[in-house]
Amino acid sequence: MSPPADAAPASSGGEQFELDPVFLNSRREAIAIFLLWFLCLLWAVPVCYAMGYGQEVVPRQVPTVMGMPSWIFWGLLLPWLAADGATIWLCFRYIKNDPLGEVAGEEPVDSKTASADGEGSK
């Protein structure tokens, strides 16, 4: 979804414009997040289906790991922990700490709160 030429006014009235980096960063991060979701889908559903669906069950002899059926452990618990790891990496390494700007027609957001988190205004 790159901006088309007819909707990308690079200059107007002598002023120069560039694509907003918050927009570009947000879009890049959204794509990475979508890929993470897709990877989790590819791990959890096929593993659960292969190991936990349509299986013959002998009562009181269900294979378990940590007390839960083994297909739950390999297909849900493990990818869940992996997803948490990936989320932490995305949050603190990949997602940019972009300034979000002031609010149009409103008094500025509490400057103390903003500066405390290391963000200046745009």
């Binding site: 990308a8 414009f17 991060e29 979701w37 959890a44 559903v45 007390g67 989320t87 979000l100």
Partner: protein, 734 residues
């Protein structure tokens, strides 16, 4: 333990709970003070965009974890077993998807336009009044559904908490007597009283405190919720004798059967006898003994000869053994099972699982003179294929003086062959139509192992609870559609900076990990510990909380634990309430009817609107629909089908147009609604939607919405340079 459960500790639990409720009101009062120093509109509906990490993370988490998470979800785990871990599996990425996918960009766009609500964003992004109004209509439509369901959840939870408090039961009995004969208010006085208390509390603090009250109570409620789950987890595992034991025990279970028991008194009755949901019946005339739980309250009047009572038959031998003996002999369980067996009554016969109850229309044929149908009378009617079918009249009808078609409430069964038929052989009745509900499990009936494997037993679906296609659908449902919820979006507009977003995503990820997987474990244990709850599975969370704390003699803890689902419902209701009133006050009144309205009149309007919307939802909840979780799923997927595609396109695609987004939004709504409406014709219920290629309507709704938005945008005139520059470009410095 099935009876009202707080016996000795009811007061302690009640006091804990009352303290919690008072704290909520205290927070509302503080919030109201805060509003006095800020712009009312921005503060009341958006908290002045000043939310820090904890407030943002916990309000987001608490709002998402609605009443469904603590009533409907546990009910589903209880009913279908371990497969619910896969059903909820996409929560592993819900925080990063719902907050990270559009959070930063939405917050920025809302700041650029000065938007306070989601309809504001849509309207301002395209300078389009009609887009804003369309969004308002859809939000009000969907949220109203959900609000009613959440009110029901809140009242149900409160009813369990108070069920053994004398002053409450006495007062409720008076209310029941007072309302006797009223069809609108029903007969459940306890539910009505709880609904009133819950409704007044939540409406009052939301109206008075606004967004900050909602957020701060969310924070408190979020803490209560996670504490509740983390306390319940070890208690449940310990009480059941280890998770491994629970899993192995579940592997022996077979789904229960639902049907009708014919119940008679062992002695002549002098006054009416009430059979409650907590009552158990057994039929010892057969070997082995059969055990039933009353599925729907019934009253037996003196002189009644035939009493049909809707019951649930427990079919797993291990469960029956535990129910009859009090505990299983193969393991020591700490909690005692204290069942309320009715010794004055006996289940005489139980209709076979294929039997059902419903209504038939009969034509009396060439009868003359007065005629009537007595309760318990057998009638034989010939259906349209000419087959004779046996029915027993459940509700008396007549007498009729003129022969005419009669709608009869009947039960059809196979146990009637030996009964003496009182029908008139000379004038057999002709069956005009019959409406019967199936009552046995469609998948998993009579088979072991389904509670520990996929797709899980299902009373309604012959493919099982979670076939592969539906499992994939739910990966879309929670993670992707969660990003499309207006109630989530509005919170994404309220955090103060990017750093807050990053830390909040991390916090919510850990929070959800600590909530959802433990919930699956806890309520798998509940299947073993508290049998027979399929008749009213929405009550399993409070029942379990009280069961576990009662077994260790800590009633006060029961109060705190029940406050967890109550908190979840409250935090959802208050958010939805505010969403609807903000839509009406900001998006309709201020922006379309009276743009120059003073702050004072907007303030009054906001209070009034929140009050009216909440009261209306409470009134509708007096006769609430069933299927709490089904309503939540319908609303969640419907909102996503409407909002996600337009919002994603307007945030990330400069070429996005007003017409393209409106058409996409309407297409998503129509496609999703069509799937549910088709369910009426194909599956007999709106809440059992038609599944195209076995996929949930969310896939169809999202697919159609994204595709149509893209195509319609391509087909329409590009937006003005001014708009694109405002939202996608910035001046080059220097």
């Amino acid at each position: 333990m099935m009876t009202p459960l707080l016996a000795a500790d009811s007061n302690a639990a009640l006091v804990t709970f009352m303290i919690y409720t008072l704290a909520v009101f205290g927070i509302a009062a503080l919030s109201n003070q805060l509003m006095k120093s800020k712009s009312f509109m921005s503060e009341y509906f958006l908290g002045s965009r000043g939310l820090g990490v904890w407030a943002f993370a916990l309000t987001f988490a608490a709002t998402s974890s609605s009443g469904g998470s603590f009533t409907g979800f546990p009910a589903k785990i209880y009913t279908h077993g371990w497969v619910l871990a896969l059903w909820i599996g996409s929560y592993m990425v819900v925080p990063i998807c719902t907050m990270g996918f559009i959070g930063k960009r939405l917050n920025q766009v809302a700041r650029i336009s000065g938007a306070i609500t989601i309809p504001d964003v849509l309207r301002d992004r395209f300078n389009s009044k009609r887009f804003g109004l369309l969004a308002v209509i859809l939000i009000v439509f969907f949220m109203s559904f959900n609000l009613v369901a959440q009110f029901k959840a809140g009242a149900t939870i409160l009813k369990v908490l108070l069920s053994d408090v004398k002053i409450f039961t006495d007062f409720s009995a008076s209310v029941s007597t007072w309302l006797e004969g009223s069809t609108f208010f029903g007969t459940d006085g306890q539910y009505l009283v709880c609904l009133l208390f819950f409704g007044v509390a939540v409406i009052a603090y939301t109206t008075y405190g606004g967004f900050h009250a909602v957020v701060w109570t969310d924070v408190m409620q979020g803490i209560v919720m996670i504490l509740g789950v983390l306390i319940l987890l070890p208690l449940a595992i310990s009480a059941v004798g280890g998770l491994s034991f629970a899993t192995q025990e579940m592997s022996t279970m077979t789904p229960p059967m639902r049907g009708y028991a014919e119940v008679a008194s062992t002695k002549p009755l002098t006054e009416a006898v009430v059979l409650d949901n907590d009552d158990w019946l057994m039929s010892s005339t057969r070997n082995p003994t059969r055990v039933f739980r009353v599925a729907r309250p019934a009253t037996i009047q003196p002189g009644d000869e035939i009493n049909f009572v809707e019951v649930l038959e427990i079919t797993s031998p291990s469960e029956v053994k535990r129910i009859l003996a009090g505990e299983d002999d193969s393991v020591t369980m700490k909690g005692e099972i204290d069942l309320n067996f009715r010794e004055d009554l006996v289940a005489v016969t139980f209709s076979n699982p294929g039997d059902s109850r419903g209504s038939i229309t009969v034509h009396p044929g060439p009868m003359t003179g007065d005629y009537e149908f007595k309760s318990g009378e057998y009638v034989v009617a010939k259906d349209s294929k000419g087959t004779l079918r046996n029915f027993r009249v459940v509700e008396a009808a007549g007498p009729f003086q003129v022969p005419r078609n009669v709608d009869l409430r009947v039960a059809e069964g196979n146990d009637f062959d030996s009964a003496v038929m009182t029908w008139n052989k000379d004038n057999p009745l002709t069956l005009v139509s019959a409406s019967m509900s199936p009552v046995s499990y469609q998948y998993g009936h009579g088979e072991q192992g389904h509670y520990v494997t996929g797709p899980g037993p299902s009373p309604r679906d012959s493919l099982g609870f979670l076939p592969l296609s539906v499992a994939i659908s739910f990966f879309f449902m929670w993670a992707i559609s969660g990003a499309g919820q207006p109630s989530n979006m509005v919170r994404l507009m309220a955090f103060n900076n990017s750093r807050t977003l990053q830390r909040a995503i991390f916090t919510v990820a850990i929070y959800y990990t600590c909530i959802y997987l433990p919930l699956v474990v806890i309520f798998c244990c509940a299947r073993v510990l508290v049998p027979g709850m399929e008749a009213e599975p929405d009550r399993i969370m409070p029942e379990m909380a009280v069961y576990l704390t009662d077994s260790i003699g800590a009633g006060w803890l029961g109060g705190l634990l029940i406050a967890a689902p109550f908190a979840a419902v409250m935090s959802t209701v208050d958010s939805f309430l505010l969403m609807i009133s903000s839509a009406v006050v900001r998006d309709i009144y201020q922006r379309n009817i009276k743009p120059d309205a003073s702050e004072g009149s907007i303030k009054k309007m906001s209070y009034l609107c929140t009050l009216i919307v909440g009261t209306a939802a409470m009134v509708v909840a007096i006769n609430p629909p069933n299927f709490l979780q089904d309503i939540i799923v319908y609303v969640g997927s419907g909102l996503a089908a409407c909002f996600l595609a337009p919002v994603v396109f307007l945030l990330y695609w400069p070429r996005a147009t007003e017409s393209g987004c409106i058409i996409g939004m309407l297409s998503g709504f129509a496609a999703h609604f069509a799937m549910y409406t088709a369910g009426i014709f194909t599956n007999g219920s709106f809440f059992r939607p038609y599944r195209l290629f076995d996929f949930d309507p969310i896939i169809v709704g999202l697919g159609v919405s994204f595709l149509i938005t893209f195509l319609a945008t391509r087909a329409t005139t590009p937006p003005s340079e001014e708009i694109v520059r405002k939202y996608f470009y910035r001046k080059v410095q220097g």
